[in-house]
């Protein structure tokens, strides 16, 4: 049930393109034809499915606050969280390279269809975004991390497939000249995004806005932040008391 919920949530509610705008560059650049869009979409699903669980392992056993505890109690206090960007992007870049080599060796047919897109993917924000969201949303186990990678990949695939199909059709329409190409694609994507917002109530059963929107996350995080501030203030108070006592 947990898996099913995450699966549908990442495809429809927290859709990579429509709710958080990730992977927009390649989404706009490679969506002129359905066939190339399918190739890139498949490559994204694949790479997300590989890198998110890998980065989950990195996060759990290397980066998190106290993650190094398995090395021994003296390492338990280290927090290497600030290294996550550089390690995640390194994992992604090497995995993409590795996948490219392996696919070329074992499946030339697949390589021919995916090959040209693989280098593009290393710098696709959807891939790094997948790993970063996995980290901030604190996905509890590797099975769910794999699920999250695959399903957000499918969400992205769906989005690029849909826009490519629309762009193929729209070629025959009489769009105002200044809007032709890029402009109309932006506006269509916006309208599709509004459409996707209506999936927001799908899992909760009421009209709550989706979790991915800024307003809700900001509110939730403000609460956390207040707690943290309180803690800091308490600590500061304690320190100043100590000073007074010492004097």
């Amino acid at each position: 049930m947990e898996h099913l919920e995450l699966f549908f949530k990442s495809i429809f509610i927290d859709n990579m393109v429509f709710s958080v705008f990730l992977g927009m560059c390649s989404y706009l650049a490679v969506s002129k034809k359905v066939s190339t869009a399918v190739g890139l979409g498949a490559a994204v699903i694949f790479v997300l499915g590989v890198t998110v669980p890998l980065n989950w392992l990195l996060d759990q056993y290397l980066l998190k606050d106290g993650a190094l505890a398995w090395l021994g109690p003296e390492y338990a206090e280290y927090d290497l969280g600030f290294l996550s960007f550089i390690l995640f992007i390194a994992t992604i870049a090497t995995m993409v390279q590795l996948v490219e080599i392996v696919v070329e060796k074992f499946s030339p047919a697949l390589y021919n269809s995916l090959g040209i897109f693989l280098p593009l993917i290393a710098v696709n924000c959807a891939i790094l975004g997948g790993s970063l969201f996995m980290q901030t949303r604190e996905i509890p186990n590797i099975g769910l991390a794999f699920n999250y990678g695959i399903s957000s990949g499918i969400g992205w695939f769906l989005a690029i497939l849909a826009i490519a199909a629309i762009r193929e059709k729209i070629r025959y329409s009489n769009v105002p000249a200044p809007l032709r190409g890029l402009g109309i694609t932006f506006i269509i994507t916006g309208l599709m995004g509004i459409g996707f917002q209506s999936f927001g109530g799908m899992l909760t059963g009421d009209n709550e806005p989706p979790e991915g929107t800024e307003t809700t996350t900001v509110k939730a995080e403000n609460k956390e932040e207040k707690e943290i501030k309180k803690e800091i203030e308490d600590k500061e108070k304690a320190v100043s008391y100590n000073e007074v006592i010492n004097k």
């Binding site: 709710s19 600030f82 960007f85 550089i86 032709r180 800024e214 900001v218």
Partner: protein, 215 residues
């Protein structure tokens, strides 16, 4: 711009309008749109990108004869990632609230296509000073769009600018709200950003018809 030659000042001015990274080159949309619901976040994002792109372009340009062509993407990624970590840590230290609002989008500057695009297209082939100007120019072009979008979304969506209620208080019904004006909640949701950018592109291309794409 007496300090700069004509050619150099073009490096800065071109990306502001006719060669804008967002509306013409279609780069860097990924991390740009999600954070434009508030003007403050847009400004911070623009400054972060300005720093990363300006410094990164210089670093890559200085290293351009040392980097082996085959692994240049990884080298570039490492340089950007290091710079972005600096930005992230500074934001966490001095503007904690804001860094929470921007959440993962600071990290996503790494894969911002503008940065990789400028490294590939400019810094690898030009000297440090020119690369610096190019970086600044492109980051400003990016920032201008971000700030325009942020301005309209915050003004129309929440009736505020930088969190200050410029149109009056919607609850106490002062200012414009006394006349029956309502905030447009539509501007707050993420897809509105796309539509606003679409309209900016429309306006820009209507003014300069040379930019219109072939059907």
């Amino acid at each position: 711009m007496a300090l700069l030659s004509k050619k150099d000042s073009n490096l800065i001015l071109d990306p502001l309008a006719d060669n804008n990274p967002i509306t013409i080159q279609v780069l860097g949309i990924c991390s740009a749109l999600a954070i434009t619901a508030e003007l403050k976040a847009s400004v911070v994002m623009a400054i972060s990108v300005l720093f990363v792109l300006g410094v990164g372009n210089v670093v890559i340009s200085l290293l351009r004869n040392v980097i082996p062509a085959k692994i240049r993407i990884i080298v570039q990624l490492v340089v950007v990632a290091a710079l972005v970590i600096i930005v992230d840590q500074v934001l966490k230290a001095f503007a904690y609230e804001l860094s929470k609002t921007l959440s993962v989008f600071v990290g996503l500057i790494i894969t911002n296509c503008i940065i990789m695009g400028r490294f590939e297209a400019f810094a690898l082939g030009n000297g440090p000073w020119k690369s610096f100007l190019d970086g600044i120019g492109n980051a400003l072009g990016y920032g201008v769009i971000l700030i325009i979008v942020g301005f309209f979304r915050e003004l129309l969506g929440s009736g505020t600018l930088f969190g200050i209620k410029v149109l009056g208080d919607p609850v106490a019904k002062t200012g414009l709200y006394a006349l029956g004006y309502e905030n447009n909640g539509f501007m707050i949701i993420p897809p509105a950003a796309l539509i606003v950018v679409g309209i900016i592109i429309w306006v820009q291309r209507s003014r300069n018809r040379a930019l219109i794409e072939e059907a």
